[in-house]
Each structure stands twice: as C-alpha cells, then as structure tokens.
Amino acid sequence: MKFIDEYRDPEAAAGYARALRRITTRPWTLMEVCGGQTHAIVKFGVDELLPPEVTLVHGPGCPVCVTPLELIEKAIEVASTPGVIFCSFGDMLRVPGRTHDLLSVKARGGDVRIVYSPLDAVTIARTHPNSEVVFFAVGFETTAPANAMAVYQAARAGVTNFSMLVSHVLVPPAMETILSSPESRVQGFLAAGHVCTVMGYTEYEPLAAKYHVPIVVTGFEPLDILQGVYMCVKQLEEGRAEVENQYARAVRRDGNLPAQQLVREVFRIVPRKWRGIGEIPQSGLALAEPYKAFDAELRFGIADHTVDEPTECRSGQVMQGLMKPHECPAFGSRCTPEHPLGATMVSSEGACAAYYRYRRLERSPESAKAVAHGN
C-alpha cells in the first residue's frame, strides 16, 4: 500500500543502519515515546539493526497502559449497571482491574460493546433512547479530537442519554516527568508522530532547551524509526538539542488547528494519575464546564472512588525506560497475555505485549516446562 510498503524496504533499512554505524562514536540511550513505535521496533527487529552503542528504551505512550486502576474499576462498575450500554475500544476490555476486567462483565451479561469510533457510541445512544450509553474515552492527544467531536455532536443533537468516562492523557508532561527523574537515562527522544500530527511540535521546544535533549518527531514504519534514530544520534554526536521533524509527510509544526480548536472547546487540562507512574500535574483532559453534563463520573456519582494497586506488576518501571519487559520477574511466567498482571501485557501498544508476541525467547524455565507438558 502506498506510503506504507516503501517504508519497510529492507535495503533502505540496511542503508540507514550503515549510516548510523558510521556516525556513532559513543553509547547513547534514546526513548521512543509511543507504544505503536515500540511495537514496530520489536516486530521488525529495528533495534537489532542498530549499532551496539545505541540503546532504545520504551516510553509510556500507551494510553491503555497508563489508564489508572480506579478508572478501570469505575468502568466495570458503570458497565455492570442495569440499563447501561458500555462502549469501548477493543483493547480496554482485557485490562485487569483488581479482580475482573470489562470482558468478564460482558461474559456475565453486561451490555459491553466494542466500537471503532466514538461516533459509533453516539449513534448507539441515538438508536437506543431507553438505555444509558457510556463511552470509555481513553487516549492521547491523537484521539482527543475524535472524542471532542463525539461530545460536541451529542450536545448539538440533544442526545442526552450519552456520556463519557474520560481518561485522556497528554504526552509532553510525561516526557518532562521522565526527564526530571534522577534515575533517567534518556538522552534523546523519538516523539510520538501521530500525537504531533494533531498538536504540532512547538510544545517540545522548551523541553529540548531546558533539559538539553534532542527530540525528533518520528513516524511508525521501520524506515521512519531508523531515520528518527539517525537524526537523534547525529544531534547527540554534534552536541545539539533541537526539535526536528522526521515525519514531515504527516506532521506540520503547528499541527492540526481545527482539531486543536475543538479539543480546547470541549476539554480542559487537569492533573491525571498515570498507572505505574503516579499523578502528573496538568497531564490530562477532562470535560470543560459547558459539557459537564456528558461526564459519566458525575452522572453515575463515582467521581470519588480510589483503589490500591497490586504490587507485582512493574509496568511503571518499563514505561519510564528503567526496565525492559523481559527483565521483569513475572514476564512470561505469572504474567502473559492470557493472564496479564498489568495493562502493558494486554494492550496492542504495550511494551510487554510486544516483547511477548515477537520475542518469546526470554520466557522463564518454569513456564517453558508447563508448555512442553501440554498445560
């Protein structure tokens, strides 16, 4: 398919790998922010093409993975309420809550539906006037315009039986939290290309200047990632710390202005808790005052619920680039996609899921024996 296949050309990939080896003189640690990039790296083996001095660590760019436990519990509570049709993107259904997930609510008879677009949830609300339809609005800035449009259209059309459980998070505050941590090893970033399609990249300029780190807006195909790494390492070798745009075919410096406008109209910036990391100020979105009627937490009276996180899951450390998935003691044994301890093993963008799916070599000996005996 045009604009995809060309960026998977193995010869061009080898060309970038050679160019990278020519310019790398020292060890460098880079972080790719987006889970979609993590998956491409592991699936296509991009990290295996890099010179040994260049290390890629994986960031928290998986909105499913960073959705706080209490929000999963709230979702389960709402979805279990009679008369509710609970709509969600597919990969939220298997994210573990304390004891259950949304899929088990569905199995027990709850009306939980997977939708492709938030507008589908509004349509369901229109066609089911006697049900309360709730949409689980999870995502980064990439998804915010779609969710904003769903609320805006529902408001305009008077679809009052529609509401949203909002768990939106913003990327730049998370990058700043990672950079300001004393344990941070990150020297350069590959910024999330699709987030920047919406937001542009002006917000990264103060970060690059303040922490003296190069930030390269990068796409999602193997060649994009290789070129992004090349541009980032070149800056590091030359002592520069600028924001550059590798993904120029989809990203403009100012981003998508009509999308930003509607997001500003429907949402406001709030502090948000990131699962595995903790609360980050000004890092999330909630519905703005004129649209509060569509806030499911208010409608269902669940705004104050809090939950404690079980301690074995280490996804917080993975998402901050402090640990690789296969270094977690539970990886592949107590934690697998079939019975995940945390969201990073479930989500299509989760780093642990990527490693498990594409690199099954690091499974622990106990689970390998269990497989051999046909368990």
Partner: protein, 68 residues
C-alpha cells in the same frame, strides 16, 4: 463539522469523518484514526526519507572512496 467521505484502505472502503481535513480532496491520501482523518499525507515530504538516505550514501562514497 460533519463532513464525511469514503476512504479506501487498500481496497476496503470505509466512511470517515473529514471535518479535521477541510483541504482534503478526492484522490488525496489521509491519515485516519478512530474514524477521523487527522492529516493529509504530503507526497513531496514523503519522498524525503529516501532522498536523505541517498544523500548520506553519496556522502559516504565520497568519504570512503568506495561503494558501500
């Protein structure tokens, strides 16, 4: 705010909301996320990944005096 169109995903046709790409025309390539086009693909910029690589290879040939 309600502009929709048909987008061809390698043969699969889907209805996509085009409100955020007011300049998109039939025949353009767009980036689609959860049923919304969020950007048009700039064909000129799209070729730069390969131009960049070619320029680096040429530079390397000059520096090393041999074909990589």
């Amino acid at each position: 705010m309600f502009r929709c169109g048909k987008v061809d995903f390698a043969g699969v046709i889907k209805r996509v909301n085009l409100s955020y790409v007011p300049d998109a025309r039939v025949g353009d390539f767009v980036l689609v996320h959860v049923g919304f086009a969020i950007s048009t693909v700039d064909e000129v910029e799209a070729t730069r990944v390969f131009e960049y690589l070619r320029r680096m290879d040429e530079l390397a040939e000059l520096e090393e005096g041999e074909t990589p």
